[in-house]
Amino acid sequence: MASKLRQSAVWPVAAGVLLTWATACLAGATGRSENIDVALLSERVSVQPGQPFRVGLHMKMKRGWHTYWKHPGDAGLPLRIDWTLPPGFKAGAIEWPAPEPIPTGELMSYGYGHEVLLAVTITPPARVTADLVTIAGAFDWLECKEACLAGSAQLDVTLPVRSEPPRPGPSAPLFDRARARLPRSPEGWSLAATAGPRAIELRFRPPSGVRPNGGTFFVDEPLVVEYAAPQGFKRSSGWYRLTLVPAANAANPPRRLTGVLVLDGLDRRKGSTIVVNVEALSGDPTPAPAQSPRRNWPRVPLYATLVALIGIVVVAALMRRAARR
C-alpha cells in the first residue's frame, strides 16, 4: 500500500518536472556570438502531425553590427542552416524579409542592421509517434561592423506533439512582424524591365491611388548591377522608372531581373516590398535622375546641416558688420 502510494505520487512530480522542462524548451534555445544574440524560436506551442509550422532564428545585433540577406551585395555571406530533424520531418527554405541597404565606404551590402527573424517552415509527417520532437540546427553566419567575424551556434527547440491545432506561443508577434516584411506579389501591380549598356530599367505601375515617392531595388543575382551606384527614380504617366547601373564586369545584359523592390512613402498593407521576377528586354534605357542621396546619409546631417546654415547666416552677418566699420 505504502509503496503503491509512493508510486502514484511519483507521476505528478515527474509530470511537473517534464512540464517545466518542456516550457523552458518552448522558449527556444539561445546562443550567443560576440555581437549577436541568437535564439531558435517556434511560432506555436505544439506540433500537430501533418501540419506545417514555423521556427525561426531570431538575431539581435549589437549596435553597429549587421548580418546579411540571401544575396549580400558587394560583400558578406547569407545565413546557412544545417538541420537535424526527427524522421519524416522536412525543412523549407529560409523566408528572407526585405533587406536594408548597408553602405560601407565604397561598397554596398544588403542585410539586417538591428534585428531579424529568419523563419523556416517545418513540415511534419502525417503520423508522429513521439510525444516530444526536437528541431535542431547548426547555424553559420557572418557578422560585420567595420570588421567581419564568423558566427555560429548549435540551437534546438523541443515541442510536444498534440492532435489538436497548435496555438500561437509568446514568439508569435515576432513571426507576424517578420511576415509583414516578406516581399509579396500584391494584386494590381504591373512590372517590366529593359536592360541596356547605360542602364537597367525596372518599370512598374502600382494600383491607382498608390503613390510611392522613391524606391530601392535589391537585386538577388550576382554580376547584374553596381550595388553602390545611386538608383534613378522617375514617375511618368502612371508608370514609374527605377534605373540601375549595370555591373561593369557583366559579360552580357541580364535576361531576367530578379530581386525585391522596396518602395518609400507607402503603407505596408498597400505593398511596399514587391517581388520582382521579370524578363529583361534588350534595349537602351536612359538613366533616370538619381534619387536624392538622403537615404545614404546618416541621420545626423539634417540636424548638422541646420546648425551649419544658422552658422553661415551668423558668420555672414558678422562679416557684413565688420565690413561696414
Binding site: D74, A75, G76, L77, R80, T104, G105, E106, L107, S109, D140, L142, C144, E146, A147, C148, L149, A150, P222, L223, E226, A228, A229, P230, V245, A248, N249, A250, A251, A290, P293, T305, A308, L309, I312, V313, A316, A317, M319, R320
Partner: protein, 200 residues
Amino acid sequence: MLRFAAIACFLLFAPTAQASAAAIVGKPAPAFDAIDASGELIRLDAFKGKYVVLEWVNFECPFVGKHYGSGNMQELQKRYTEKGVVWLSICSSAPGKQGHVTGEEAKELVTEREAVPTRFLLDPEGILGKKYGAKTTPHIFVINPKGVLVYNGAIDDRPSTKRADIKGAKNYLTAALESTMAGKKVEIAATQPYGCSVKY
C-alpha cells in the same frame, strides 16, 4: 552675403563624387605603382611579358583565414610562382581598420603563414584597390603577358568561411590561369568575389 551663403550651401549639398573605377575583363589592366613590404617601389609595367595574379588580402578576415589556415592560398602561390607567374598580395586596409599592416607586420604574417607571394604590396590609402574596384578579401585578378585583364572575381565557387568547403570547390583562379597559360580563352572570366568588404 547672398553669394557667400550660396557657395556655402553648394559646398554643403554638393553630391560626393561616385568612385566607380573598375578593372574590366578583356581591357588593359589599370597601370599602377605601389610600395611593397620591404619599401621597394613596384610597377605593374615591370611585369609585362608575365602572367600576374593580384590577390587582395586582410589577414584578420575569416574568409582569408579559410584559404590561409587550410594552406590553400600558399599552395596556389607556390604552384604558380614556380611556373613563373608573378603573384602580388595586396592589403588595402586603411590605418586603424581591420587587417591594416605595416611593411614589417606584413613580412612577419607572410613568414608565419609560409606564404610565398612574389611581392606583398601596401595600399593603406586604397588607391590601388579603388582603381581595380577591389571589393572583398580575397578578390582575385589575373593579367596576361600583354597586360590585359583576363579574370576578375572570386577565388572559387563556395562562398563560405569553412575550410571544409575548399575541397570539391571549383577554383576559378586555377581555371583562369590554366586556360590563359595554355593560350586558351578564360571560360569564366568574371564572377562576383566573396569575402569581407575591403576595409578602405
